[in-house]
Symmetry: C2
Subunit: 84 residues, 2 copies
Amino acid sequence: MNALFKALNDPTRRAILERLRAGPATAGAIAEQFQFSAPTISHHLDLLRQAELVTSQKQGQFVVYTLNMTVFDELLGWLYQFKS
Amino acid sequence: MNALFKALNDPTRRAILERLRAGPATAGAIAEQFQFSAPTISHHLDLLRQAELVTSQKQGQFVVYTLNMTVFDELLGWLYQFKS
DNA sequence: ATTTTATTTAGACATTTGCCTAAACATTGA
DNA sequence: TCAATGTTTAGGCAAATGTCTAAATAAAAT
């Protein structure tokens, strides 16, 4: 839960998640959309992975990142306790 | 949206929200439940108020904090885009 | 009036965060 | 094998964060 909220508490990381809604993408393709350096984006991706918001698979020299929507359910569950 | 995620990115603040599910409470009553100093809790309450997750009304020398569930809908809306 | 009680504001300090550049690692292609 | 490409790791730095104590503010009680 901590890692989840931490990962979401950054506009760049939230934008990465929104980008991945369109489908999996390589680290490089993701990095192209932002003005930050590749290492910076790599670090953001690492935090998203720690929160299990994304998964990564190595494909040759590329690393493909994919949204993991499973974790959203955990978050929704936490939020729903406030809806009653 | 930024203030919202920022406010949620702290276990003490999330615990305060959960405390307020049981009903409104004064700053002092909230602070009693934690090991932190009153100023620290006051600061957390300030961040929750900035995110509009809580409202506060002064009642005599007390300040009563109340959950504001309205903002949760905004968050649910953001999450929902990932569910399809 | 003065003191007590409730809360916030101010200022300091250590830790965490987000960014960078340089270097390392891993895979592909000449 | 050597060079090019894609990505991560390492290390450094400024800004933000979470905590504290001391002081200020405001209302209540004596």
